[in-house]
Symmetry: C2
Subunit: 557 residues, 2 copies
């Protein structure tokens, strides 16, 4: 109960780091028990005891063997700006017992993260279970207050980045992946987070304007079914003129030009039925608004009998004026079959009317896509260039949470272990260092955790890597490259370096590179090989010594 609580508050320099993207991320975005514990620590005079917590997860999501680490930047922004406003302290007072002493609230008033150190694996790295993603050290009461916000900020971010990476893995490098999940995301911020972290995981663009503005992510979007059905007929189009792309020519009746083309297409392809006139009007109107970006949703009525002939008529009319249409979007039906039919139709138009590149117009597909449907499309064969993916991607339907935990591993220089009958839940004690060891072919071979003061693994030197809990699982490794995984992101009172927080684009690039350098059998969808995570021989022995010491030996008779 000494030190800071009565003095003037010593404010930590936040190194010029702005607060979190979401203004709701304040110290009150916390489980109540972090505050009750903080009080209990304070009351016992224990609140300044130096504690080390590891943030990690226990299992890779989506039945895979890898995870993309994301959310770190928001955590660093949070601690850089960590402070409790007066009204927040008042609220905490209301929540706790009336018997709580005033001194505690004075303590809260002066609280910041100037005594906290955060070491972390860089955002966008491919990571594995049990290895700390973040190691947070500081006064136990303060670090406890970081648990819930950190776990919240990392959990979904890493999960959805991983999901995006898995979608990219199935779709292949050449396809364009668009995140369309805002409307189905779990709340407004779920939507914004999804856009950011899907981009990190390898998506190319989003439909979410707010995410575009906040993070500079490329935006995509055209029109919906409602736009199509809001039109009745071509009579609704009053301003029918369109200037040519080069600015010199001008077409006074673009509508007639479209109709002429439609007739030609129908004659040449033997389409006898009428196409839908609402749709034709909507496409024409949209092209008049965006002659340079004409991409039409073609499945409001019937793709091959109406949408595609209508689209082609408008695209060919645009072509006469020097504009190049972008393509079409399919949002229902058998996407493999339809995309091939559409591609054939485009090619026949190219041939018939001699319009170069018409056969290569972009085909975008959407409609409840996920990893499995992408895989199925690949197997069937398709002609889709771009996928718009929403619900299953952003809600992480296949695995709704990552299960990140935050465990005490040391306090007052004493290592601590959390035991459990379920061995996967036993924590790895001690303040640790973590390394990734690379083999001859450049692939990562194994991650290894050591005690803080052990010598680091050396290139070319044999080192024993042990499974943390299974005695028989161990192997000697001779690393060709050694990478220390945990880097300092928040050094406490010292000013942090300007380049501590990389740009989103760089995080995305790191992620893509990281995914590419993994051995392919870890990455495959079916029966992937688990990547090995190990501890040093010394740490192994220490874990098991502690375990025996802590486990209960009594018996209830």
């Amino acid at each position: 109960m000494e030190t800071k609580e009565n003095g003037p508050s010593k404010k930590v320099s936040n190194g010029g780091i702005d607060g979190p993207t979401n203004p709701m991320v304040t110290p009150l975005l916390n489980d109540l028990y972090q505050f009750t514990m903080a009080y209990a620590y304070w009351k016992a005079g224990k609140h300044q005891e130096r504690a080390v917590f590891d943030l990690y997860f226990r299992r890779n999501p989506f039945g895979g063997e890898y995870t993309v680490f994301a959310g770190l930047e928001e955590c660093i922004r949070f601690i850089a700006n960590f402070t409790l406003a007066e009204e927040e302290i008042d609220f905490v007072r209301e929540c706790l017992s009336s018997s709580c002493e005033d001194g505690f609230f004075d303590y809260l008033r002066g609280l910041d993260c100037s005594d906290v150190e955060v070491y972390a694996i860089p955002e966008g790295t491919v990571v594995f279970p049990k290895v700390p993603l973040m190691r947070v050290e500081g006064p136990v009461a303060v670090v406890q207050l970081l648990e819930t916000p950190f776990v919240n900020l990392i959990n979904y971010a890493s999960l959805v980045s991983t999901n995006a990476a898995r979608h990219r893995n199935v779709a292949g490098k050449s396809k364009t992946l668009l995140e369309f999940g805002l409307r189905r995301a779990q709340g407004p911020d779920g939507g914004v987070g999804a856009s950011k972290y899907c981009y990190i995981g390898g998506f190319d663009a989003t439909s979410n304007v707010a995410a575009g503005k906040l993070f500079g992510i490329p935006l995509r979007g055209t029109h919906s079914h409602a736009f199509v059905s809001s039109y009745m007929s071509l009579d609704e189009i009053t301003d029918k003129s369109l200037r040519g792309k080069d600015g010199s020519s001008r077409c006074d009746d673009f509508v007639s030009l479209v109709q002429t083309w439609l007739n030609k297409i129908q004659l040449s392809n033997g389409v006898f039925g009428e196409t839908n006139q609402s749709e034709l009007a909507a496409f024409t109107s949209y092209a008049l608004a965006f002659p340079d970006g004409f991409l039409a949703l073609v499945d409001t009525y019937d793709v091959m009998r109406s949408g595609i002939p209508n689209f082609c008529a408008v695209a060919l009319a645009l072509s006469d004026l020097g504009y190049k249409a972008v393509g079409i979007r399919l949002d229902s039906g058998d996407l493999a079959y339809l995309s091939c039919e559409v591609r054939n139709f485009f090619r026949s138009i190219e041939k018939e009317f001699g319009v170069p590149e018409f056969g290569k117009l972009q085909i975008t597909a959407s409609n409840d896509l996920n990893e499995e449907t992408l895989d199925a499309l690949n197997k069937q064969g398709h002609e889709v260039d771009a996928f718009g993916i929403g619900t299953y991607l952003v809600t992480c339907y296949a695995q709704a949470a990552l299960g990140v935990v935050f465990k005490l591993v040391e306090i007052n220089n004493q290592p601590r272990i959390k035991l459990s009958e379920d061995v996967s839940k036993v924590s790895i004690p001690c303040k640790k260092r973590c390394y990734r060891l690379y083999g001859k072919e450049g692939y990562p071979l194994v991650d290894i955790m050591t005690g803080e003061n052990e010598p680091s693994p050396k290139v070319g030197e044999r080192i024993l890597c042990r499974h943390p809990f299974q005695e028989s699982k161990r192997a000697y490794v001779v690393p060709q490259r050694v990478e220390e995984l945990l880097r300092c992101y928040w050094p406490g009172s010292t000013d942090i370096k300007k380049d501590t927080l990389p740009a989103l684009r760089d995080i995305r690039e790191r992620c893509i590179n990281q995914l590419e350098q993994m051995r392919p059998d870890h990455m495959r969808r079916l029966n992937p090989t688990p990547y090995k995570v190990s501890v040093s021989a010394k740490l192994y022995d220490f874990i098991h010594f502690l375990w025996l010491n802590e486990a209960p030996v009594g018996e209830l008779q």
Copy 2:
């Protein structure tokens, strides 16, 4: 391209309604295509055309036959404060084509929802597929800009409220349900939303301090495993004194008192092994901080050999000083078995030491609970009083999205229909009225949609209710009570009434009452009976007339 864009902006009165809870909910929280469409409408001079959109969902979630409607208040707050800031307009300009005309951005500058009307079912109502939850009418360009935010705000809110209601349904009325999901929620706002909407769905409290502050939801929380393992031994407790509850007495060595009780318990119950001393120190310390609110997490080492004797020793020592302990929390193991063992232990203590009510101390259980595990616990028999539920509840693991849609049903007084080869995706056209018809026993029998100008169903009068798409499914109903479902929540330019937005507590009460008044077979977990949703005979005929008119008749040869 006329009316408002050049005049001074006519600002809508927002009836004193504050903006959304989440400051990220702005008009830019939108799919890009809403803006491209807005431009296309404007460019075509169509933007002021009056359109009616229905917001509804197609299937009940979680394999059930009911859904709780939630999220309405946030939607109303959003439109009441709908306006684009200058920098937002600048960003939209950057996102659209450079060929877009300036007049459009002037139009955006003056935009508000003064011409929009929103009719909705009250928040907290039990609702069913196809029936509009909201009917939004206004200038087509403006209403399109509401689609994505509305769907986003309703989707997760209704989903998680329904999930909470389902958990309550299994747990039973007498149990306390605590939402502990913040750390596993999909982002910060996912956590805050989960807390709010689980409360509406029938939960009693949350651990989320921010939600407590924002919405006045009761808060709960004690301590974590880390708190327990942060202690080494009783020697760490320096201030050992505790004043009695009545204020007159004082115990100078509470630690010794605890140890005395532990010895007594061990003798009387034949516990010979030592309990864990870290744990005993942590419990003692926590009790000194919160003598009036002592609730201990008892599974850090071993529930029956360590946690429970340690807890009882501290609780009995508190009892000597006039304090009543609250109870324990179990976070692992066989919760059914352990809760019964713990209850027996508590009862034996009550009997042995004559401490009244000790047998009734609260037992809270947590650890990856969901509907299924609650059901399994009920079948096995358990002694749990309160459940702390996190991951599966807030992430809606069993069904990650509700699939809310927003469909154009009328424009310029012309009804519109969206066709699809999948009949469940065909929309029900026309501006409609919706009624719930009640039977003799007070249960709702059927929901019926009619055209706007049809006479409303009358009590005691026979009315034909038809399945919207299946000709053979129809029935006559004689309602004993008729409830119109859609009420006016946003009348556009007129000031809205002060009581339009009920308090959260009232929404929650409505929800609980609504769930209770449903016929039990609709609510059961196994093979629930679908609740019937119908249309009037006149609307049925009209749907099928339109359908035939719109469906393509041509053929591709």
